[in-house]
Symmetry: C2
Subunit: 323 residues, 2 copies
């Protein structure tokens, strides 16, 4: 079963996605053998490709949606995303992502560092030749946002953040890239400025909804679906459901247990049960639904088209997915 | 004493260098506080600024040498250089560079990783708006070359390389950036294609001469001048003087001792004495002089100008410096 058969919203942009996947498979061709092998490893089993799907759907709101530069933008942003994951996995000492061993686990941290640099360089080389300076600036701003978010993460003292601090961080680390996909593609395709703004708002909100849902799934996801459960907890990384659970609890005991590093599996299971038993998970899911609703509301400012329906389906899928 | 007073060749481009230094001091302004602090740390005590000096001198061979874009290129390539050093220092577990503690030593590896990503992003953002796609491509190719060189370094089995393997590696890791400075600047300033080619050849050869001289100084430099001696040996990183010393020795004993990790200070001193006693250091210095001579010969293809004399002085300085 190909991706396009799994969810209806892929169907509209199947051709572009196929071209993108071919390009991603070729990223390492002719380069250093270790980079070539790491690229094959990274792009051999494609993920959900939500970000490029958003690029291709958003571009359809402008007259130049079939320009090759749209695929360049999609590839550039997917490479930015992959490069930042490769570097994050070093920082997080992660061995597995999406059921696949990380580059640092298969090779080592040194190789992963350079492979990430290489992917960023490929991403920028593609972005640099895009015909619109404002779109190039969006790609650059996205990387700055990712770095800002990651720096905030590694320099924060071990403490439960406020809801606002959490939302600021995920806006930098996740939503900025979703916004760049939608807004950048619409700009590049010469869409009406109002539609560019609507797609930017859609992207930001859908990105926030995506990340909160991800953080909820980390606590309630099914390991049978290949989702490693409790990874944020294991790392002592407080997410929104935990923040809400701590708000509902008395004293500092739950906060200290969440922040403690190197939890054993038993403590991890106990904590998951405790957080699930609080209203934190439902409240976080409700917050994700609010962002979903704002994303969908932004779509009202776009003309009625199959692509608009598809964007709504993407937002629904992001909120309802189980992995 | 400012840099410009130290060596005559700086005098011609003093204004551009001053502007560049101001820009580098401002790189972290308004960004994440940790990035701002790391930037101040990195750019607070400027190095020799040889690469930007080459950019400004090479640009003088075209009619547009005083365009602001020339300073953009110089800043972009200096940021590429700094970013790659910050990442290399993680890989090399280096605590000190040019007598200054590294970012990974002052903060930690995670911060250094993200600071490097940030600097690369700044470099690309500057390069992306340069008015000539072929110059943007040169910046991108340079980063690929740096990554290739570094990947070759971290994936090589512990063995003494051949002279050719060594030269290939330093061409990727050092000379490509020198070539980009000279060739990129000349292209951007609209110099005659023959002069662009001559400056490219000059840059490659001066870069090779620079790196071999650096590797010689690592063995014979004076610690009184603030040069940490024997660092390559300590890391088990074979350089040209060592390659030649091994060629001159009998059996595998010297090779194994050079490649051994975690040498104690006594073994390091013994090995330095042994390599100095061989003809390896003089032969490597002779090889650097050959590249110097080829660099100077390339200058004959340029019109006679004070900038041409200055480029010759840079080549002489690179060969004769003591730190």
């Amino acid at each position: 079963m190909t991706i396009a058969q799994r969810q209806g919203f892929y169907a509209l942009v199947e051709d572009e996605l196929a071209e993108l996947q071919q390009r991603l498979r070729d990223v390492g061709r002719g380069a250093h053998p270790t980079f070539a092998a790491a690229s094959t490893h990274l792009f051999g089993s494609p993920g959900k490709l939500l970000r490029p799907t958003l690029v291709f759907l958003a571009a359809r709101f402008g007259p130049h949606s079939s320009d090759r530069t749209i695929v360049d933008l999609a590839e550039s942003l997917e490479l930015v995303h992959t490069a930042s994951l490769v570097h994050d996995d070093i920082v997080d000492r992660a061995d597995v992502r999406r059921n696949v061993p990380t580059v640092n686990a298969v090779w080592n941290d040194d190789v992963a560092l350079i492979v990430g640099d290489y992917l960023f360089a490929k991403a920028y080389a593609l972005a640099a030749v895009l015909p619109k300076p404002e779109v190039i600036a969006i790609v650059a701003q996205t990387v700055f946002a990712l770095c800002d978010g990651e720096l905030t993460e590694v320099t924060s003292p071990p403490a439960i953040p406020s809801e606002k601090q959490y939302l600021d961080r995920i806006e930098l680390k996740t939503a900025s890239l979703y916004a760049a996909c939608c807004q950048g593609a619409a700009l590049l395709a010469d869409a009406d400025p109002e539609h560019v703004a609507a797609l930017g708002a859609y992207g930001t909100n859908v990105g926030l909804s995506f990340q909160i849902t991800d953080d909820v799934l980390d606590l309630v996801g099914s390991e049978a679906l290949g989702k490693e459960v409790g990874r944020d907890l294991a790392e002592g990384m407080p997410t929104l459901p935990m923040i809400y659970a701590v708000e509902d609890s008395e004293g500092d005991e739950l906060a200290s247990r969440i922040l403690a590093p190197d939890k054993d599996p038993r403590e991890r299971r106990d904590l998951i049960a405790r957080i699930r038993a609080s209203g934190g998970v439902e409240r976080a899911h409700g917050r994700a639904r609010l962002f979903h609703d704002q994303a969908v509301a932004a779509l009202d400012r776009l003309p009625e088209r199959p692509e608009r329906d598809a964007l709504r389906e993407v937002a629904d899928f992001i909120l309802r997915r189980e992995r």
